[in-house]
Amino acid sequence: MVPLLLGISIVLFAVIQAAPGGPEGALLESGRFIDPEVIEAYRVRLGVDQPVHVQYARWLGAAVQGDLGVSFSTTRPVAEMILERLPATLELMGAAFLLAAVLAFGLGTLSAVRQYSWFDHLGTGVSFLGIAMPVFWFGLILQLVFGVWLGWLPVAGTGTVGATSLGDHLLHLVLPALVLSFRYVAGWSRYLRSSLLQALRADYIRTARAMGLPERVVVGVHALRNALIPVVSIMALNLAGLFSGAVITETIFAWPGIGRMFVQAMFARDYPLLMGILLLGSLMVVVFNLVADLAYGFLDPRIRYE
């Protein structure tokens, strides 16, 4: 894993540096009169006047000692900023994952056992919608319906300042979690439906029915477990997608997670912060791949790793 992360860090550093402009851009974009000497002094202070390989060597030297550097824009340690924002992102990801899993399992199973029913057609239609619909548009529509017209849910933030309670916080979580999960509800429910339909045609299901087992046990225990194998692996791989999807969701709903911080860092060309966040994202992809591999073995006893 270490060589992989090292390789990733080189690619990330190169890509970030290849983007035109620099951290002084934020200074210039304000439209104010800026003293050119100030701009140069700013670049020197941040160390971006040095050649790229020197900058990378400095960054790597500190990173291996656990120091991810100091944010250009806030002058705070990057690790501290990431740790501060990570819980919000993990909470949103976790809520969206759970919500997507519960809804997808229900929808997928019902669609499969009632193949070609009105419910199945509706599920297919909603799934296509979920996959095709832009996240930001869906988020804004939900804000309008539940936040503005009905007044049931808050449109942004994690809580009412000065009146925060668990219920209030959960209310704030509903819309972003729903928006982030919707695409995955659509995808996973379709995978499960197709996988379950295949399982339900298998010989062992016919045998189970012939033995007189209740239909609920046949579907819920025997068919579903086998049908879950490909779906769970996709779910584990999609965890990384949830992390990247949080970038848009967090921005729309003013959720104080890493995704939103990434957008700000990108516009500010805050190299150390970008490197820290991207490295964390890469680490998550590697870990989630590992989780997917382990999930195979858990669900299918025939798969064992040497």
């Binding site: 104010r32 800026i34 824009s73």
Partner: protein, 555 residues
């Protein structure tokens, strides 16, 4: 067919909507939905405890709270930190921590025989920092030492370098000695730093001093004091009970600046009654005007949109060197249509860079009329004849140039597209190159472009020397007129209003006649306010609309 009888159909829909139902139930039990917010008319007045809380939907999380080193607008900082001066809603400097602004008329600015200038600032008495320490003239000198130090990296540090010395004859008087006359002196010292907290540090240490940047160690003299910064969520400031203007101000107990970066979310949040104040987009103004309990306030920003033509590339020189050609191009641009149709009539046309609300604005600066027929005639006379594809040609060169657009600035790109279409009507081709923001800035500053639509955000001081002087640090068009230079430089050294105004009037006329840059319109910043807010007097300068927070109150 497989049956699954134990699950009734109705439960399908229930499972789909379970989360929303839970939310609806929770909403009915209280929380934000039923708490301090009302459905219309803003986020309400005093809360259940009787506290008056102003809720602001702010468009971004700021970087640092040091007003000098922040790269963002400093609305939030100025609720806590004050300077010697601020600007009011008439684009005019007014004293804050200074008792009055020194001028030659009031005898506080004296020209010395050796060419230096002595400037005396009398300070307000009985002003205390938020930690109870007295604010004195020593703090002013300390602030000057910090800003003028190379390590401060304050964006306008060069403007402070004319100050040779700072003296403190008593706690409430500061005397600066300048090496010459600088008319922009009134706009300096927009904030003060506390010497008793930062005095032992170097400028670099102050820039990187996290406790001050994050608020824990921030003390100001302003109407509000720092309370809390929740990363990514909000900054909360509370009433300064010991504010120097008196015990009755400020009338607001607390301000919550929530960071809501998405334009549509901010607007939805206002419509849902969650906030009292937000900046919105010009395209949202028409809808916002129909919202019950809110009013739209169009702040005339000290920023003007303009079309620039450069002479820095070979093609640009071949095309734009003749004044008549540049003027013809400008006559082809229908600015009124842009203002009326694209910006829904929210903006004021500009004929000069100096804002129409400024006392230095020259209303006599000649406007460029929209006259495509005249444009065609002028181009014909200049030898540019229509080619086979309708684009004019002269000596084998097409009248075609590239406009540099910045991705993500939808307003500017839309203006550029309209100009592109209007120029085509007179046989001129403008192609687009669109660059990401930082890349655009880099190219723009390099001068290697031919035309662009951009905006400058000017301070209340009317000097435009940096923009148009031959060696102006922000002159990216390559414009150079020695006669104009000499008048601009003179205007920067007139301290009395009348002489400076006369010089700047001439400058504005000469700029209009040079046809190097076509002012399009003065930007407006639409603000949506709850009708419950009283005392708001929006300002379009870098001091922003919160310059008079001590006067605000919530009904």
């Amino acid at each position: 067919m497989i049956r699954f009888p134990s699950v009734p159909s109705a439960r399908t829909a229930v499972s789909l909507l379970s989360v929303l139902a839970l939310a609806a139930g929770a909403a009915a039990c209280g929380g934000e939905g039923g708490g301090d917010a009302s459905a219309t008319g803003g986020a309400g007045g005093p809360d259940a405890s009787g506290r008056s809380i102003l809720r602001v939907a702010y468009e971004r999380e700021i970087d640092v709270l040091n007003a000098f080193t922040s790269q963002n607008l400093v609305d939030i900082q100025f609720s806590m930190v004050e300077g010697l001066v601020t600007t009011d809603d008439r684009n005019t400097y007014i004293p804050v921590l200074a008792e009055e602004i020194p001028t030659e008329e009031n005898g506080l600015v004296v020209r010395n025989e050796d060419g230096t200038v002595t400037m005396t600032w009398p300070l307000q008495e009985d002003v205390r920092w938020h930690d109870g320490e007295p604010f004195t003239s020593a703090d002013v000198c300390f602030t000057w030492r910090f800003v003028s130090s190379p390590g401060s990296q304050v964006y306008n540090r060069h403007e402070y370098l004319g100050i040779q010395g700072c003296e403190t004859p008593d706690d409430h008087t500061v005397v600066f000695t300048w090496d010459g006359v600088y008319a922009y002196y009134q706009g300096l010292f927009e904030a003060m730093l506390p010497e008793h907290i930062l005095g032992e540090m170097s400028a670099e240490e102050i820039v990187n001093f996290t406790p001050y940047n994050r608020g824990e160690a921030l003390v100001g003299t302003g109407p509000f004091r720092f309370a809390e910064w929740r990363a990514g969520e909000y900054i909360r400031v509370v009433r300064n009970e010991d504010y120097w203007r008196g015990p009755d101000v400020p009338a607001i107990d607390e301000i919550v600046w929530s960071f809501v970066p998405d334009d549509n979310t901010r607007f939805n949040g206002m419509k849902a009654g969650r906030y009292h104040w937000a900046r919105i987009l010009p395209t949202q103004v028409a809808e916002a005007r129909g919202l019950e309990g809110y009013e739209v306030f169009l702040v005339s920003s000290n920023s003007f949109m303009h079309l620039d033509l450069s002479l820095n590339t070979e093609n640009a020189r071949a095309l734009f060197s003749e004044t008549g050609v540049r003027e013809a191009l400008f006559h082809a641009v229908d600015r009124q249509a842009i203002a009326d149709q694209l910006l829904e009539g929210t903006v004021v046309l500009a004929n000069t860079p100096i804002n129409h609300t400024s006392p230095f604005h020259n209303p006599e600066a000649p406007p460029v009329s929209y006259d495509p027929e005249l444009a065609r005639r002028m181009l014909d006379q200049a030898g540019w004849q229509p080619g086979p594809d309708g684009i004019r040609v002269k000596d084998g060169r097409r009248l075609s140039f590239e406009m540099l657009n910045r991705a993500g600035t939808a307003d500017r790109v839309a203006v550029a597209q309209v100009i592109q279409a209007q120029l085509k009507e007179v046989g001129v081709e403008a192609t687009f190159e669109t660059l990401e923001s930082a890349a655009w800035t880099q190219r723009w500053r390099s001068g290697q472009w031919e035309a662009l639509v951009s905006a400058w955000f000017l301070p209340a001081d009317p000097s435009v020397t940096g923009l148009y002087a031959c060696d102006g640090s922000n002159n990216m068009t390559g414009m150079c007129d020695p006669e104009l230079d000499s008048i601009m430089e003179r205007s920067d050294r007139y301290l009395d209003f009348d002489r400076r105004k006369a010089a700047l009037d001439t400058v504005q006329v000469m700029l209009a006649q040079a046809h190097r840059s076509l002012p399009l319109y003065f930007n407006v910043v639409p603000e949506l306010l709850s009708e419950g807010i009283e005392g708001h007097r929006g300002s379009g300068t870098n001091f922003g609309s919160f310059w008079n927070l001590w006067e605000w109150r919530l009904r």
